[in-house]
């Protein structure tokens, strides 16, 4: 007879324990969500400055003055770091996962509530340390979100590479620790705390996605933590893990024997799974929404589960495709290339099943559904350039161009963000007890959807024509300068898209206070979060112990009284 970790905690009293240092997974989820919201607007603001500088390099901005080329690199680094770590990793997993994983599997809380709280506050601390890099001497680092050595390993390598780079590494290390604690909690909760009847194969696909994402996080962030420690030692203790013998600005560095490639291997061993950490929760959510709003069971539930697993597994085998430029052996490149293209198979299975779910459904085009369909569109368009880049011969040409920027922004950036938007519109009624405004939601969708394509489609052509990434301006080079009209178009599209995000912000904040009151199950969905009150009580189910009888996607079941059968309803007999 073993017992679960006893984590009984009464509903907390007092503002501080209830809303700030709360152990309740729902409050922690909302905290993660707002952290990501602040981060996404910060990251978007940085991209705004970058887009202005790319087109009008001599413009003098209020407060900022003229942006210098090295400042452009700082903006690029901080934009990437904030977006990848504090938005794409934080919102879908830490935010919505924290809030809805326990409810969807019928648990009263996470397995380790104290650890859960610590992981949020650790992540928050990481964010503050990262922002601090802007305000120290020399400013924010220049080395990009990938932190390639030797640029990142030598404080003398550039203006932001002093204290700013140290803060950047420390922030990443802190983030890793927070993410590891979160991942451990998610996996244990999924394994151990499922309500009676909630077998693994009755879990909603959102839960599967959060579960596999947590496994990826558990295995990937530990490696990044090590890499960060080694980098910090290279910078501050004089070791030479990543720095070969050489000079910076004509001065001997005092290092020798290290290898920049070692950094690339360690970083991308984390970095590629990180791409899936960002996108898998959106995939799970999208599967969920397509089924709910098509009023049809998900097409191929088991295939979806195995495809998520396959993508997660292959994600650890392909880090070398980020390093084709490094001069690796053609045999290694070949192996990584084949593996990478192999990921196309489970991805295609998922896409096929999404389309199969939509096929002949009675589709309800509410804002969450629009964003879910938008996700499928962006996933296909962003993903299709993957097999191009997976081929070393093509990649060597394309890798240093905007083609890669367009590719990963569409699939890892915008598609994941669409997942976050869809999740926000879908779960907002449950989280805050009110509906979001549909008209504003639809306006937001169309502007963002068209805007995203207007930004990133031309970027592919800009890259194919030879437009180089990381260059702060192209005016000095004739053949890049001849592409300037494309950059201008992209920037204007970006300004419009950025502006339309304020529709979302206004909708969100206004609806929290003034939105129409939400019913307990406004979308007529089947999963457990819709069986409980809105917003859910402290123990999630108000003293009721949920018992699950059905799969998560019983829509339009023949003979059923409604067109949906809740997971807790009496078992359905009709098979479809």
């Amino acid at each position: 007879m073993t017992t679960h970790e006893p984590h009984a905690h009464a509903a907390p009293q007092g503002f501080l324990r209830k809303y700030i240092f709360s152990l309740d997974h729902k409050i922690i989820g909302i905290q993660y969500f707002f952290l990501a919201l602040v981060a996404v607007f910060a990251g978007m603001f940085l991209s705004l400055l970058m887009r202005i500088h790319l087109v009008w390099p001599n413009a003098s901005l209020p407060f900022f003055g003229q942006i210098k080329p090295e400042t452009y690199l700082s903006l690029l680094t901080m934009h990437g770091t904030i977006m990848v770590f504090f938005v794409l990793t934080t919102a879908p997993q830490g935010g919505f996962g924290n809030y809805f994983l326990p409810i969807q599997i019928g648990a009263p809380d996470m397995a380790f509530p104290v650890l859960n709280m610590l992981s949020f506050w650790t992540t928050f601390l990481g964010f503050l340390v990262l922002l601090a890099a802007f305000f120290v001497t020399g400013g924010a680092p220049l080395h990009g979100w990938t932190g390639y050595a030797p640029l990142s390993a030598l404080p003398s390598a550039g203006p932001g590479e002093g204290l700013g780079a140290d803060l950047w590494i420390i922030s990443i290390a802190i983030f890793c620790i927070g993410a590891l604690m979160g991942a451990l909690n998610f996996i244990t909760t999924t394994l151990d705390m499922r309500a009676k009847g909630m077998t693994l194969m009755r879990m909603p696909l959102t839960c599967w996605a959060w579960f596999i994402t947590a496994i990826l996080g558990l295995l990937a962030f530990g490696v990044l933590l090590s890499a960060g420690i080694l980098l910090l030692m290279d910078r501050n203790l004089g070791t030479s893990f990543f720095v070969p013998l050489g000079t910076v600005n004509g001065v001997l560095t005092g290092h020798k024997g290290g290898s920049p490639l070692l950094w690339q291997h360690l970083f991308w061993f984390f970095g590629h799974p990180e791409v899936y950490i960002a996108i898998l929760p959106a995939m799970g959510l999208c599967s969920q929404l397509l089924s709910v709003f098509s009023r049809k069971p998900i097409f191929g539930y088991k295939a979806m589960v195995y495809a998520i697993m396959a993508i997660g597994f292959l994600g650890f085998m392909v880090w070398g495709h980020h390093m084709f430029m490094s001069g690796m052996s053609p045999y290694s490149a070949f192996a990584f290339s084949i593996m990478t293209m192999g990921i196309g198979v489970p991805s295609a299975i998922k896409t096929f099943n999404w389309l199969g779910t939509l096929w002949r459904g009675r589709i309800r085009f509410s804002s969450p559904m629009l964003f879910a369909i938008g996700f499928v569109s962006l996933f296909v368009v962003g993903g299709i350039s993957g097999p191009f880049l997976a081929q070393p011969v093509l990649d060597i040409y394309l890798h240093e161009t905007y083609f890669v920027i367009a590719h990963f922004h569409l699939i890892m950036g915008v598609a994941s963000i669409f997942g976050i938007f869809a999740a926000t519109y879908y779960w907002f009624p449950k989280m805050f007890g009110r509906m979001m405004n549909e008209t504003l939601g639809k306006a937001h969708f169309w502007l963002t959807f068209v805007g995203a394509y207007a930004i990133f489609m031309p970027m592919h052509y800009y890259g194919m024509a030879g437009g180089l990434r990381r260059y702060s301006q192209g005016t000095e080079v004739a053949w890049i300068n001849s592409l300037a009209p494309i950059q201008k178009f992209i920037s204007i599209a970006a300004f419009v898209t950025i502006a339309s995000q304020f529709i979302f912000l206004i909708n969100l904040l206004w609806s929290m206070k003034k939105g129409e009151k939400a019913a307990d199950n406004p979308w007529e969905a089947t999963t457990l979060e819709w069986t409980t009150a809105t917003p859910p009580p402290h123990d999630n189910f108000g003293g009721v112990t949920p018992v699950v009888h059905n799969g998560p996607y019983e829509y339009s079941v023949p003979g059923a009284p409604r067109d949906f059968v809740m997971q807790t309803d009496a078992p359905v007999t009709a098979k479809h």
Partner: protein
């Protein structure tokens, strides 16, 4: 099976756990998986450096090897005492549980002290990192100084791997201390911090390294404040998993770093 359990003040009925065991044990196994990847990355960095460097030095004399063997013996003994502590906890023998835990901590502490002495000797003899200050009044051995100069990867990997492991052993001692003595361990920990800080000279890396103990004291105070509870046998078992894992990691580091770099 682990199904009928009180959580959150309400009894909740769960599906049987996939591994038929309690959450905390699963959590610890998961942590160990991730930690083994953290160590794996460091060992990868070590192997990368060793393979890509022609003429990797093998400078360790018999004194170092003998010392490391004694350290290994202490660590292996500590695994035995840890097993006995777990057995005592299962038998609800609180007194011998505490005694065996303290014995495990003592063996771990002996390991750390011996290792710290070894570090200090190597640094004094010139096998050092560029940023470690020179030890005043000590003549560097030309042989070690030459190794540090010609193959900086050697001291880099040595101090990183063993340092990370030493940190894990130290945290393990603190962990066991909290399991054995709970709140009463915090003043002991603060005393250990003061002793370690005051007893080490300012040029020693341990002078600053001692502050790890202060940070840990703050963190465990917060955790004990958030989660005041009585520790039971499962906590001893889970702490034991961690302790054995740290031993296991040493079983990789000892041959790779010491034996394969011994002067024969």
């Amino acid at each position: 099976m682990a199904d009928t359990v009180v959580s959150h003040d309400i009894p909740s009925v769960y599906e049987p756990s996939l591994f038929g065991t309690y959450s905390k044990k699963i959590g610890m196994w998961l942590f160990l998986m991730s930690d083994s990847l953290t160590f794996g990355a460091l060992l990868y960095a070590y192997s990368y450096g060793r393979i890509s460097t022609a003429g990797w030095p093998t400078p360790f004399h018999s004194t170092s090897i003998v010392n490391a063997t004694i350290m290994t013996a202490f660590l292996l003994t500590s695994s035995l005492t840890m097993v006995l502590a777990v057995r005592a906890s299962v038998q609800k023998d609180a007194k011998s549980q505490t005694l065996w835990l303290l014995a495990t901590m003592a063996c771990g502490a002996a390991f750390v002290v011996l290792h710290g002495r070894e570090w200090s000797n190597l640094i004094a003899e010139g096998l050092t990192l560029p940023m470690f200050p020179a030890v005043p009044g000590h003549e560097a051995s030309p042989e070690f100084a030459n190794v540090a100069k010609t193959v900086p990867q050697f001291p880099s990997t040595f101090f990183t791997l063993t340092g990370m492991h030493m940190l894990h052993v130290t945290l393990g001692i603190v962990y066991l201390g909290v399991v054995a003595l709970r709140r009463k361990f915090i003043p002991i920990l603060l005393a250990l911090w003061l002793i370690a800080w005051l007893a080490t000279p300012s040029y020693s890396p341990f002078h600053y390294g001692a502050h790890v103990l202060l940070v840990v004291a703050v963190v465990i105070s917060i955790i004990l404040w958030l989660k005041p509870k009585v520790y039971d046998s499962s906590d001893v078992e889970v702490a034991g998993l961690y302790w054995h894992f740290v031993d296991l990691v040493w079983m990789f580091i000892f041959p790779l770093v010491y034996l394969m770099s011994a002067r024969i």
